[in-house]
């Protein structure tokens, strides 16, 4: 069992709920224990740094200071939190006036941060710590024949944290392959979905989401495997009908967050994989994988394998 400090981020409690549930469901089978930080607050995200840089850094530093007390690596599934936490982590090590202001603010509430936390993305933990071979060995329900476009999104791979390729990453492709699925070529896999401005610049964001869906469909994908970022997942899943409305298109592409498709391949059922939380329902597409090889007919085989 590997232990991590876990920071879900605000969106995981709302729009990201299905992703969060699927992450919790696969943690144990993957031998990882995610210990959620107590009483965590928002990471600040980019809107706050567009309002007040020092306060934004202070918000983020509180999370880092809390995580430091655990002595564990800090893991987050939200790509936006990942970028923000990483950036603040670097800045707090600098001898900069703003960093000192933030240190003082931390001291005023009895916290302090020594800069020792390692910030990690949960996809990177699955890829590097669990490992693709170990994952493949745990597959009970191979996703054979399922053509998927693997959407990494932007902030998981950029700006620069030694994480996969910054423009054409393939970790989600490798994970999907390990589960038996067939990743298709997906040139826009690391382009932005515009989600940070979807509320105030709706048309601009819908245009970006439209391109992502079109590119996946044009390349023959039956579904999108998205990173764990709740914002990426919501953009592609919840806004898909708004895109169809605006562009008179007929996309019906289920968006499986990577922990969801892992959950299915590990043999968990529809609900455990939180697939009932998806707005574009993957029920029909995935039924061949559940039927014939569903929990029921699987059970004896699983027992035999385990025993």
């Amino acid at each position: 069992m590997r232990y991590y400090a876990y920071y879900p981020g605000c969106s995981m409690e709302a729009t990201g709920a299905p992703v969060e549930k699927a992450i919790k469901a696969i943690a144990k089978p993957l031998d990882i224990e995610l210990m959620e930080l107590e009483d965590w607050t928002c990471c600040g995200s980019s809107p706050f740094s567009g309002v007040d840089k020092v306060k934004a850094m202070a918000i983020t530093a509180r999370v880092l200071a809390q995580a430091e007390k655990t002595g564990l690596d800090l893991v987050t599934p939200c790509s936006s939190c990942y970028t923000i936490l990483h950036e603040a982590n670097e800045l707090m090590k600098d001898d900069h006036k703003l960093a000192w202001q933030v240190h003082e603010a931390l001291t005023s509430v009895g916290l302090n941060y020594n800069g020792t936390v390692k910030v990690r993305h949960i996809v990177e933990v699955i890829y590097n710590d669990v490992g693709v071979e170990a994952l493949a060995a745990k597959v009970k329900r191979p996703m054979t024949g399922l053509k998927v476009a693997c959407y990494h999104g932007c902030q998981q791979v950029r700006p620069e944290y030694g994480y996969d390729d910054r423009e054409y990453p393939d970790w989600l492709d490798r994970i999907s392959k390990a589960l038996g699925a067939e990743p298709v070529n997906y040139p826009l896999k690391a382009r932005c979905c515009g989600s940070s401005l979807v509320i105030s610049e709706t048309d601009m964001a819908l245009d970006l989401i439209h391109k992502l869906l079109e590119n996946a469909a044009d390349n023959g994908a039956q579904a999108i495997v998205s990173t764990t970022c709740p914002l990426c997942h919501t953009a592609l899943d919840a806004y898909q009908s708004a895109v169809n409305g605006k562009y008179k298109s007929h996309f019906n592409l289920p968006v499986l967050a990577v922990p969801q498709i892992i959950a299915v391949a590990l043999g968990l059922d529809f609900k455990q994989a939180a697939l009932d939380g998806n707005i574009v329902s993957p029920r029909k597409l995935l039924s061949p994988y559940f039927n014939g090889r569903t929990a029921d007919s699987d059970a004896p085989a699983q027992k035999a394998a385990a025993g």
Binding site: T15, W40, S45, F48, I59, E104, R158, P159, S195, I279
Partner: protein, 184 residues
């Protein structure tokens, strides 16, 4: 009374963490060419940087351009001089808001509603933050969002009540320390 030399606009920007290299920009235009939303910018990223260096403060901060940055970091990944244009855009946004500029964009209101939600609850309360934003801008624009909000609601992805966490008190104390200049 202490008299302070007013720093130039360029110094003001360059003093923000991660923005210090703005002087090393060679104006190659890779950032503008890479920018996900460049089509919407009156002055694309490369030009914004040139304008900051030319001291064109009002022109930069009265324009809506920087507010189209979606933090995709393509510019930052590709810049040959390690300039971090995305950080510069966010630094400019903060300067614009602090100094009372009113660029023609609704994103300023969205950011403020977002920040207030954090101050009030310690976490983002999505429903409340969207509600505040639409009430302040154009309530009719919210109608367009309704089908989507409704499907999120029926899929248990849009809690209607905030979850205020204890940590918000600590946050607000830290903010107080920052605004009052702490122990100095």
């Amino acid at each position: 009374m202490e008299t302070k030399l007013k720093p130039s606009f360029l110094d003001e920007v360059a003093s923000v963490p991660a923005c210090g290299k703005i002087n090393e920009c060679v104006q190659c235009g890779v950032c503008s060419g890479s920018c996900t939303t460049a089509a919407h910018w009156e002055h694309p990223p490369r030009k914004i940087i040139a304008m900051v260096r030319a001291g064109m403060k009002d022109e930069v901060l009265n324009s809506s351009s920087i507010w189209y940055c979606v933090s995709c970091y393509l510019c930052t990944a590709r810049c040959p001089r390690d300039i971090k244009p995305a950080n510069i855009m966010h630094a400019l946004e903060a300067i614009a808001l602090n100094e009372g500029y009113k660029p023609p964009t609704k994103t300023t209101t969205m950011y403020r509603s977002f920040a207030r939600s954090i101050e009030q609850n310690g976490r983002i309360y999505e429903f409340g933050f969207m509600l505040e934003y639409f009430l302040k801008t154009n309530p009719f624009a919210a109608l367009r969002m309704l089908p989507m909000a409704f499907s999120l609601l029926t899929h248990k992805r849009m809690p209607l009540l905030p979850k205020a966490v204890k940590g918000r008190h600590q946050l607000n104390q830290m903010f107080h320390n920052i605004t009052t200049g702490g122990s100095r």
